[in-house]
Structure formats: C-alpha cells, structure tokens
C-alpha cells in the first residue's frame, strides 16, 4: 500500500471540510452579530434576519459533502482503503482545493453581503427578499467550485 497517496487524499478531504467550514463559521457568526443587533431593537425581525444568517452556512456543508465523497471514493468510509499512488493522492488533494479555497472566501464575502442585507431588513423589512437575493448571488461561485471538486473526484482513475 502506498501510504503517501492515501495520506494526500485524506489531507484533501480534511482541507475541504476545514477551510469551507471555517469560512462558514466566521461568516455565520458575523451575520449573527448583525442580526442580534437588529433583533435587540426590533425582535419581530428575527425570522427575516435568520434567513440571511443561514446563507453563508452552505459553504461548510459543501466542504463536508466533498470530504465525504472523497473519503468514500478512496474507500476509507467503507473500511477498504484503495491503494493509491502518490500521483493519485495529489489528484485527490487537488480536487479538494476548489471548494476549500472558494468555499472559504465566498463564505466570508457572502457573510459581508448578508450583513449589508441585515441593514436593509432593519430599515425596510419589506425589501428583505432583495437582500436575500443579493447575498445569494455569491453562492453561485461556491456551487461552481463544488461542481469542479465533484467532477475531479469522480474522474480520477483508481
């Protein structure tokens, strides 16, 4: 068994879950702060603020999804790890990078957009939908990164 190949693949899974998760945690926390500020003045805006707070949480889920798919593909989850070469290991590692990197930065960017959206909700709650759409636009790039990570994972020959 080539332990380096498998180690690299597992490291890729760790990166995907770790960085996308950190990005989401930071962003959800940031939006939560802003939401708490609004709710402290007007508790009736809780549900509207909550939707905006949830938006940047998706990147963490995408990271988790990629980590699970990758571990499943290399057989770690089934208890029968594949015998990967170093090259294959590097390929799996590279496959995790789109969601790890884009996930981290897009979560932070989405968090900032959602905080600005909280401002709209605070002042003009009837325009909350627009605030959600604007923050959700950032999601596109996380989805593209997720897609690329999935495509790479399933197209590596082992």
């Amino acid at each position: 068994m080539n332990s380096l190949g498998l180690t690299l693949a597992i490291a890729g899974a760790v990166c995907a879950a770790l960085f996308a998760g950190i990005g989401s945690a930071r962003a959800v926390g940031l939006v939560g702060e802003a939401a708490a500020g609004v709710v402290s003045v007007d508790p009736s805006k809780f549900s509207k603020a909550l939707i905006l707070q949830l938006l940047p949480g998706t990147q963490g889920l995408y990271g988790l999804l990629i980590a699970i798919l990758l571990l499943s593909r290399v057989g770690v989850l089934g208890g029968n790890p594949a015998d990967l070469t170093a090259m294959q290991g590097w390929m799996f590692f590279a496959a995790s990078l789109p969601i790890a990197i884009v996930g981290y930065f897009s979560a932070i960017a989405q968090g900032r957009a959602a905080v600005a959206g909280i401002g709209i909700t605070a002042k003009k709650p009837e325009h909350n939908g627009k605030a959600i759409i604007m923050a959700a636009m950032v999601e596109t790039y996380a989805i593209l990164a997720l897609l690329i990570s999935i495509l790479i994972i399933y197209n590596i020959n082992i």
């Binding site: 940031l30 939006v31 702060e33 802003a34 939401a35 708490a36 500020g37 609004v38 402290s40 003045v41 007007d42 805006k45 900032r112 905080v115 600005a116 909280i118 401002g119 605070a122 002042k123």
Partner: protein, 314 residues
C-alpha cells in the same frame, strides 16, 4: 475597501433605530400643527417616550455597543470642553455649575467642580489636563471670561483634530476638519467686526490645513473686506456669501456640512462611522425640534421655520 467587520451588531441596531428618526414628512407635520395639542400628538405618535431619543440616550446606546471606541469619544469633546468652561467660570464666580453642564460627556461631572477647585485634573480625560491647567491660570490671571472661553474653544478643536488624526478614522478626521473650519470662519468674522487685537486672535483661532492660522489672523487684522477676500480665495466663497446674508444661514450651512458627512456613512455595514453618523443625526434632530419649538413660540411663519431646518438624515 475597508475589510473591518467591527461593530456589525451595533451598526445593524443603529440601522433599525434610524426608522424612528424624524423624516421630512414628520417635520412638516410638526411645523404645520395648528396648536400645541396637535404638535404634542404628532410628537407622541413618532416618539412614545421622548427620553429614549435624547442625545444622552443615543450616546448610551452606541457607547454600550462600542465602549472601547476612542474615535467615538471625539463626538463628545465639544460637550467635555464646554463643561470645563462652565466649571471654571462657576468656580471663579462662586456659582453652582450643575445647571450649565451639557450631557452626554466623557467627564465625571459630579466630581469636576470639586476637583478643579483643588487643581486636581485627574478627573478629566488626559487630553484635557493641559488645557484645564492653562485655562485655570488664564482666568485667574486675567479674569477675562471671554478670553478663557476662546482659548478653550480653540483647544477643543486642536484636541479634536489631533485625536482624530491619531485614530486614523477618516470620518472623524473630516468631522474635526469641518468643525474647525466653521468655527475659525465664525470667530474670524466676529473678530474682524469687533476689531479684536492680534493677541486675542492668536488665542481664539485654531487653524487647519484649509485655513492657515497666521494667514487668517493677518486677513482679520486687515479688516472684514480683506477677510472675505481671503476666505473666497481659500475656497469658502459659499460661506462668505452666507455670512454676508445672515449668521443664521451660515450656522445652517455648517450644520448641513456635518449632516452631509454623516450621509456618507449611511451605507456602511461595519465600523464606527455609521454609529458616529447616527449620533450626529440625533443631535441635528434635537436641534431641528428646538428650532421648531422656538420659532412656533415666537410666531415665526412656516417659510422662516423651513428655511432654518437642518438637513435630515433619513
């Protein structure tokens, strides 16, 4: 683009509070109210408890979210130094200073009169120690309340500029710059009318990058016409035009400059700027309400009141 994420909660809370600021329609309703009963009804429909919207309450609100923010404290410097003036003059004249104090302030007002009498300046923020000591000596030596006032006023602006520069906050730098320029123009104009001597001008004028202190003093000493020409050449033609018309219009111009500055922070979601802007907006609102009350009591017509209304934040 600023990457700060500070005060996200405070800014969001302030944005929610902005809904309760008076808008143009509210102001017009107040001006058009036919009597005190209608005026009070409009006020209570917008404001359940007026105390919640006093500048003191607004300060407590934003300071509660950002207690460590040094740049926000600059907003209270004018009140702080005013309170120092009040305490010094009350001490010299043997009166009680309490009724002359303005709140909110960064100073412990309960201890201030006693501490000044004992020349204990530790009750004041550190940036006020030297001013308090020198103002005390000045007022004791000259018994000239106006000179001491002018000295403290100029020191207020100098301290504001210095601490705003040190804070690195562009909003507060601009805030200090606007206040300094407006105060210097006003002082210079009055001094030129009253034909004040150089020694007084040197104490009363602060100076700023836009209006060099020495050049401004020379222009004042050369007479009002020379001063107006100097101001025009320095890019303050609008101020000159308004000063020619009336002091009231000039005051409004100065306040509107501050409100324009506040408007630049409205779209921000983080940082101390939106908090400072909200405080400035609440101060201006209080000022507008005072103007409406005074004008209505004195029987001023609708146009006169509207002309004096400061720009609104919302």
């Amino acid at each position: 683009m600023s990457r700060t994420t500070k005060y996200a909660d405070a800014v969001a809370a302030v944005k929610a509070m902005e809904n309760s600021l008076m808008n143009r329609s509210d102001i017009e309703q107040l001006i058009n109210a036919s009597g005190k009963t209608e005026f009070d009804a409009v006020m209570s429909s917008k404001r359940g408890n007026p105390k919640e919207f006093s500048t003191e309450s607004v300060w407590e609100f934003i300071h509660g979210y950002a207690p460590e923010s040094r740049e926000l404290e600059i907003l209270l410097y004018r009140n702080d130094f005013h309170n120092l003036k009040a305490a010094l003059k009350a001490m010299v004249s043997g009166r009680n200073a309490e009724k002359y104090f303005i709140r909110p302030t960064n100073i412990n007002l309960e201890r201030l009169p006693e501490a000044l009498a004992e020349k204990d300046y530790s009750v004041l923020p550190e940036h006020m120690h030297r001013t308090a000591k020198e103002a005390y000596e000045l007022i004791v030596r000259t018994s000239d309340g106006q000179l001491a006032d002018s000295f403290i006023d100029a020191e207020t602006l100098r301290t504001m500029q210095k601490n705003a520069d040190e804070s690195g906050c562009e909003f507060m730098k601009e805030y200090a710059r606007i206040l300094t320029v407006c105060a210097d123009i006003k002082t210079a104009y009055r001094c030129s009318r009253m034909k004040k001597q150089r020694i007084f001008l040197e104490t009363a004028i602060c100076g700023s990058p836009e209006l060099d202190k020495e050049s401004l003093i020379c222009a004042v000493l050369d007479g009002t016409e020379s001063l107006m020409k100097f101001l025009e050449e320095s890019g303050f033609a609008e101020a000159v035009e308004l000063l020619d018309k009336s002091a009231v219009k000039f005051e409004k111009w100065c306040d509107d400059l501050l409100m324009e500055l506040a408007g630049t922070a409205r779209m921000k979601s983080f940082g101390a700027e939106p908090l400072a802007a909200y405080y400035i907006a609440s101060e201006t609102e209080q000022q507008n309400l005072r103007i409406i009350s005074v004008c209505r009591e004195s029987g001023a017509d609708r146009e006169t009141i509207m002309e004096r209304m400061r720009k609104l934040y919302v």
